[in-house]
Symmetry: C2
Subunit: 383 residues, 2 copies
């Protein structure tokens, strides 16, 4: 944490566990008998519960979206740039709810949790989740919190898919939907990258068919490789070139297989760090949820037909050099929304930061985001 | 092989080993005391040796560029579409030389060869090669074959880098240079992908620091992953979408970690097959040669200055959906050649086949290639 909490920070926050006993029926046909959700909230829910904003996280995100957990924290939550007093998701106005998705590894029930049926960590026995399952679990959380209708459901990347899914799954419970750097479904190439990442994990001899915790080990190498690969797809070609170019770590070529180029040691560092913090089974599960997401499939692949159910207003944003979920993919959503006669705003933000841009405080992005959230506040009678 | 050898095939060919006793000094400072090159030739060298064409191979290529090794062969050499009687590299006119590069695993001296110093396979002790080292070894092969000057040096991808290097390293020995789907140096992103592939290999517990053959094993899993990743970068996003889309193997989702989408099983199959045929240390070495290639570096990063040394005529070709070595990268070469006042033709071929397109008999590509090789034949007084 900085020496003093910045004025536009939500400050010190304490996550809270919400337990649910009613079984959750999943798309796969499986069932989760009971589960915990790890949740953070910022701001205050108003009397008619009309100011609640749900934050949906991406692959490696969690419930800690803003503020600090303690005065020792070096970094704030993952979306602190967008959430806080005076920020686009203004906690002076909105009651913000962020949670760790089921299947995650930051406190909500997931593969590292104890399976009540066996007394051991779930591991590979944890059921595979689809985006719709998360939305259902989030709807129960909304019930618990007394939120009948979200002022907005907001998410980037995989989080954007959840926001989109909310708008068609519970149309009467979403007033506004913000879909950032996302896609209506993965491309073949996206699935291919996910598959290579998964293979890196499951082929790690420390994976033990997913029951690595029972063996007191983790598939660190495989997860590191998966993250290194992921990281390449989060950055833009140009951004990487600007940041690292062909710079050499020691200033000269060494003609060996140690990391020689700066980009190599950067990726190894990122992979190494991530593999010590994140759960491999959660990584697998998150990539599968990404692969499966395809709401138009049930509508004969007609996305506009699918979106006709929605009742909310939409904001869609993309980033010029994002090649994981390119602006073209956002435009597919926007075109379908227009065809479905929905209220939609769309902005493509100029940035050299690739997919990662959605997490960064890019001025134009924050400005556009802020303007839309002002509309949300106004539509909800908050200002 | 087809039941009958097609008329436009070079037919049954027999590779030949050429042994060299003079030590080869390498860019790294290391030295290869003696080595073998595995070579195939097609057509007949004319009296004044003015019709010789050198084929340089890419990452996983070898000396078997055209024809069949036996009547049992199911497939011809890797560039049979371009080499043969009446084909762009017309063996009725040209004497074509194809070799397996040093460090390879198809017969030329490489990591799987016996190190005379130890009596065991070289493994990780095989020196790291740069493109210039290959060019030097190829120059010695030219000497041995009595070829003072190549009518053309031709290559795609990493092969294109060798062709480009030939033109500046031995300017007086190259009349024409054909650089296909290549680049003047790798981008940061290219290096990043190579690094992930290398990590997959070296982190495989069967890698044993590169001395896996001594342990009677191979790092099959790592090499499979490396190839799966490579394969994604060889195909275009659009091409993948057209070929596989989001098609499911069993027609429905199974909600498990087996391969569900067609693209997953395709990549697994490609990776599996490759990992049983190719040497992991060779893969590492080839990716390093790619990373290191940067001929302009010695010219203050001025590619035009670097290319001023050249004396040959150039043909540069790229493919519209190639994102591994995009048309933009070929244009960098073309622009530098023009700035250096060289004779250069450039064509970008429309194709949805990505980087792989350079190996395919795309009509427009073959037509342009053929026209340039006609010019070569005419300039060399062959027609």
């Amino acid at each position: 944490m900085p020496t003093e909490i910045p004025e536009n920070s939500v400050g010190i926050v304490t996550p809270q566990v919400y337990s649910f006993d009613e079984p959750l029926k999943l798309r796969s046909g499986q069932e989760l008998p009971a589960y915990d959700l790890m949740v953070e909230t910022y701001g205050t829910l108003n009397e008619d519960a009309s100011n609640a904003v749900l934050i949906c996280h991406a692959l490696s995100g969690d419930h800690h979206a803003a503020g600090y957990h303690s005065s020792e924290d070096k970094k704030p939550g993952w979306w602190d740039s967008a959430i806080g007093p005076g920020k686009p998701i203004d906690t002076n106005r909105f009651f913000v709810v962020a949670l760790n998705n089921l299947g995650g590894c930051a406190g909500s029930t997931g593969p590292t949790s104890i399976n009540p049926a066996t007394g051991k960590p779930y591991g590979s026995d944890f059921p595979i989740f689809c985006v719709r399952d998360w939305v259902n679990s989030q709807a129960r959380l909304a019930d618990r919190l007394g939120i009948q209708k979200w002022a907005a459901v907001v998410g980037g990347s995989l989080g954007g898919m959840q926001a989109l899914r909310w708008s068609i799954q519970y149309p009467e419970r979403v007033a506004h939907c913000v879909v950032i750097a996302s896609a209506p479904k993965l491309t073949t190439q996206n699935i291919a990258f996910n598959e290579v990442a998964r293979q890196a994990i499951v082929k790690d001899p420390e994976f033990h068919d997913g029951y690595y915790l029972e063996k007191d080990t983790i598939p660190k190498g495989g997860l590191m490789q998966a993250r290194m690969l992921g990281h390449i797809t989060y950055l833009s070609d140009d951004g990487m070139a600007l940041k690292f170019g062909r710079d050499l770590k020691s200033g000269k070529l060494n003609f060996n297989y140690d990391s020689e180029f700066e980009i190599e040691s950067y990726l190894r560092y990122q992979g190494e760090r991530f593999s010590g913090q994140f759960d491999a089974n959660t990584y697998l599960l998150m990539t599968k949820a990404l692969d499966y997401f395809d709401p138009a499939a049930a509508f004969d692949n007609n996305l506009a037909e699918c979106l006709k159910q929605a009742q909310c207003k939409y904001m869609v944003m993309s980033f010029s050099t994002d090649w994981r979920f390119s602006p073209k993919r956002s435009e597919e959503i926007v075109n379908a929304l227009m065809e479905a006669d929905k209220d939609v705003s769309y902005v493509e933000i100029e940035s050299d930061k690739g997919h990662d841009a959605f997490l960064l405080p890019i001025p134009r992005y924050m400005q556009v985001f802020d303007a839309f959230m002002n509309r949300v506040a106004s539509n909800q009678g908050l200002i």
